[in-house]
């Protein structure tokens, strides 16, 4: 993983994290919005500008790949690099969570 990717994606925004988390299975932007809404009991509603911008940026940086188009919706899937980044983030958040639990 090169320095640029690390600088831009580690640590990651909450929106970015959810996008990568959801794209471990092929999905499109709006599908991700719905999934995240469900997962967070409606607390997090990803907005379309953020979603479109993030997806095209992540595709350009090689974190996710375009699979196919369905009904004018682009379907993406996480790449190897994307998994690496997600893994780093998961470890960081796990540690955060563990430390939070210990200190409480």
């Amino acid at each position: 993983m090169d320095a640029h990717i690390k600088k831009v994606y580690v640590p990651m925004t909450e929106s970015g994290f959810y996008i990568l988390l959801c794209l471990r299975k092929p999905n499109h932007g709006y599908g991700i919005v719905q999934m995240v809404k469900e997962m967070t009991d409606g607390d997090i509603v990803l907005a379309p500008g953020t979603m479109y911008g993030s997806l095209s940026k992540m595709e350009k940086d090689g974190l996710i790949g375009f699979v196919r188009e369905e009904d004018k919706r682009k379907i993406y899937l996480i790449t190897g690099l994307g998994k690496e980044v997600l893994d780093l983030e998961m470890k960081r958040i796990e540690r955060l969570y563990k430390n939070m639990k210990e200190m409480r």
Partner: protein, 321 residues
């Protein structure tokens, strides 16, 4: 009869899209629904039921290139696509008063990303144009060494002022843009020392450029610096910069030869004339047609030898035999 549509001319600077959104919402509240915008800032409206509608602008050239999916993403999320104008895409969503207005960006990172896209798409080209065309043209025309047959004459003077005007307009655009970007960045990511320093640097650069251009313009177009050395047969003018006219008076006799020799000519424009006091010039020329050929005086009298310049640099020698 009530009109069913109207057009309003409005000017919003590049980062003022927030004001633009508010304006479109206000118009909707008054019963005017935005339909599209045309150059150079004409907003077209049609009559509608007054109502609360939230307008949002995105700047995403990739979205415009892949419009179907881009618009689909927004419509899936409940945003109606209105139009594109100057790289911005306009979206709207009905919303009731008092409710918190909806955003098309849900975090500051993506909001800043949009500002970066605006900067790359709209400000970069202006900076490149300024640095690659306007500034070099201003300097060349003002220094008086612009290339081309018209470059050194009156056209050069006009161009010099035109590019000075353009340069000032551009620097003003850069300044107001920087102010807006600063406000925006402060709002999004807080007022940090780093942000302040960055913008202080930008402003220092703009002021330095303005001052530099001003000094250069004055030094090239208004200042005169030369030495005039008289000798037995005439005089020599060594000109660092000439923006005035220098007149020397001589009593000459019929048959005298006046030779005005341009020993060195670097840049600018030189005019030379020999005139009998109170009469038409017996000779008038510029650096193109003045060479070694002497002018023979036809009548005894009091003569004025005038050398005038515009942004001129060089050495002129006047010899009377």
């Amino acid at each position: 009869m009530m009109e069913n549509s109207k057009t309003v001319w409005k000017r919003f600077s590049i980062p003022q899209y927030r004001q633009e959104e508010d304006y479109l919402s206000e118009m909707n509240e008054k019963g005017w629904r935005f339909t599209h915008a045309t150059f150079p800032g004409l907003y077209h409206f049609e009559k509608c039921e007054p109502g609360q509608v939230t307008y949002r602008l995105d700047y995403n050239q990739e979205g415009i290139r892949n419009k179907d999916e881009y618009v689909r993403m927004f419509s899936d999320c409940g945003w109606e696509y209105v139009c594109d104008f100057m790289g911005y895409s306009y979206f709207r969503k009905p919303g009731t008063a008092g409710e918190e207005r909806e955003e098309i960006f849900c975090d500051d990172a993506s909001r800043l990303d949009m500002m970066r896209r605006v900067f790359r798409g709209k400000i970069y080209p202006l900076i490149i144009l300024f640095a690659a065309v306007i500034l070099p043209q201003l300097l060349a025309n003002t220094a008086g060494n612009s290339v081309g047959i018209y470059g050194r004459g009156i056209a050069g003077d006009i161009l010099s002022f035109v590019f000075l005007g353009l340069a000032i307009v551009y620097l003003l655009i850069f300044s107001t843009t920087a102010v807006h970007f600063y406000r925006f960045e402060k709002e999004v990511s807080g007022d940090s020392m780093g942000t302040r320093l960055k913008y202080a640097g930008v402003f220092a650069l703009i002021v330095a450029l303005l001052a530099g251009i001003g000094v250069f313009f004055w030094a090239s177009s208004f200042r005169s610096a030369y030495t005039l050395t008289e000798n037995d047969t005439g005089y020599v003018m060594e000109i660092e910069k000439l923006n005035t006219s220098v007149v020397k008076e001589y009593d000459l006799k019929k048959g005298d030869l006046v030779r005005i020799h341009i020993v060195e000519f670097e840049r600018g424009h030189l005019y030379l004339s020999i005139t009998e006091s109170g009469k038409e010039p017996v000779f008038f020329g510029d650096f193109y047609n003045f060479g070694y050929h002497p002018v023979e005086i036809q009548n005894d009298g009091h003569y004025l030898i005038e050398i005038s310049g515009k942004r001129a640099t060089g050495i002129v020698e006047v010899t009377i035999e």
